[in-house]
Symmetry: C2
Subunit: 338 residues, 2 copies
């Protein structure tokens, strides 16, 4: 599997070059070249929102920098968490008197480096609060939610906190809201075919031609179960049952669905998955609105998808649907005729 | 290579089910279930804009239905042009007293069926004008532009005519504008790895591990040249030279770049390609703004990309940047700080 790059060493840097050249009105580099921040700085009384993460999963999270969403993204090497020092550079760039929230998708390297960066920032007098994000039900059992990995459902946290911070919410209220969004979100993924690591040029796992992995992580972490391939409807019914067992949703509830493609899965396939999720929810008396369907948190050209379910409060729903102006976050369509 | 579907026969129909269930405020089915149209009908004095095309290339064109862009898309089977009768159904749904433009991306089946549909519509008293779109410089030599295939550069025509029609432009002026956008656009693509046909489950072509195909068509039509893989900068320099030889751009001109991913190419790779295009243009004294980078016209999980260059008039540029509200067309960032 061929990949397009100039050199393995410069992959992330060349990508950032292209990104800031494409969207100069929205994003620019921070003082450190691996910090991507808004071109128009936020007002000093807005809480800053940022995340550091390994690259190779775009558009998450670099593509989410801009009005109504993140203030900065600290870009690590491919599949590698940025160092604490690098994240600290990002915090110095955007944390002001109103404080900052450092979002951390729960993976070991990200947690260790992120927590250290938050501590170092505190030592410098910056008010930084980390929020750990975890939503993948396959990575730890019910009752041990805070041992779970971050997966595509973190997108709900990004967007809702981004809109809330833009609207002037205080640091304390943002922390409460972020925890509530995370706790109201569950994700389960299925992988069909491996992606290729740009670092090695090799497939990230292997899987028989007639099998699907349930619960594959974003870096190719092993899944929890294998299933035979079959009609999408069967696969989705199985996954929905797992999700609803982990966090029951009462009949009559309206939820928000995110179908995330892992990179090599077509829009036709994702829409077919969505069809079956919508059908499966309706069969339980659950409605959905303001869905998001797209390849947003990717693992190179891995084929597969995840289903994330959020049971939003009215406040969360309004913030989820709020306008934003980033290069990589799609427009949300609330559901009513426009 | 596994694909997610319920049955081969229902692929396109299941996809449309998912699409209208996800975005009920924006899109709905027409009288025929393979016609996808706006939920809120256009005003009768607006010229209707529609296209019929094979599915399997999403988000183009179904994802472009909505405010500020298309009025309807007639969805064919995977990689197959819809029949003239089916396109006629779409024309009946949306063509009103102001007339309609049927956009046709130049491929044999699409041209034959589209032209016949326009004729049949005329017989019924509908005022329908077809516009043929062609931009792929690899598919016929300079001087024979109207023998070329439609490629990702058609996206410039869709968007600019969509915004113009929404703003109330007359049928005659839209035809002139559409021809002008097409004539100001050139595209060249490069394929790295094949996609899998969902119809056969097989790779659509084969290519040695160290080679790239230049000029691959959207259905896997053979390219015109093979090159050894190497740094992206070299590949882009070669492709830019071909594009600028076909349609020279004077130093001092501002152009608009579209980097289209073919499906299995990551955002990191597309942004790296963009970096090199920006560099290559600047080396010739050409600037760029309002770029679009994404996987918009796809061939399943084929890896590769195309470069499209538009030299816009100020009118075209304003229409390109105009707001729209579709599920699948990204926000354009004009370039100035927002």
């Amino acid at each position: 599997m061929k990949k397009l790059f100039n050199s393995r060493e410069r992959m992330a840097d060349d990508m950032i070059d292209g990104f800031v050249a494409a969207y100069p009105g929205v994003v620019t580099r921070g003082r450190h070249p691996r910090v991507v921040r808004r071109t128009v700085p936020k007002s000093p009384d807005k809480v800053a929102l940022l995340i550091g993460n390994g690259s190779g999963h775009e558009p998450i999270a670099m593509g989410f920098v801009g009005p109504g969403l993140l203030d900065a993204n600290v870009v690590g090497d491919v599949f590698a968490a940025p160092s604490a020092d690098l994240i600290l550079e990002g915090l110095r760039d955007v944390a002001g008197p109103a404080g900052a929230i450092l979002l951390i998708s729960r993976h070991d390297g990200d947690v260790i480096n992120g927590m250290e960066a938050a501590m170092l920032a505190g030592d410098e007098g910056l008010r930084v609060h980390p929020i750990l994000m975890y939503d993948d039900i396959s990575s730890a059992p019910k009752g041990q939610e805070d041992d779970r990995r971050g997966a595509a459902g973190t997108i709900f946290v990004y967007k809702i906190l981004g809109a809330a911070a833009e609207a002037g919410m205080s640091l304390g209220d943002l922390i409460t809201l972020g925890d509530a969004v995370r706790d109201a979100t569950r994700t389960l993924g299925a992988a069909l075919n491996p992606g290729t690591s740009p670092l090695t040029g090799r497939a990230m796992f292997s899987l028989p031609e007639d099998e699907v992995f349930i619960g594959m992580g974003v870096h190719g972490e092993p899944g929890v179960a294998r299933r035979k391939t079959g009609p999408v409807a069967e696969l989705v019914d199985y996954m929905l049952a797992q999700l609803l067992a982990d966090r029951p949703i009462a009949s009559g509830t309206d939820c928000t669905v995110l179908i995330n493609g892992m990179g090599g899965t077509t829009q036709m396939e994702l829409l077919t998955v969505f069809r079956e999720v919508d059908r499966g929810l309706r069969a339980q008396g659950i409605s959905q609105s303001a869905a998001l369907i797209g390849s947003l948190s990717t693992t190179q050209e891995m084929a597969g998808f995840s289903i994330s379910l959020l049971v939003p409060t009215p406040q969360m729903r309004a913030l989820w649907c709020a306008a934003q102006g980033t290069p990589g976050f799609p427009q949300i369509h609330a559901g009513a005729a426009q």
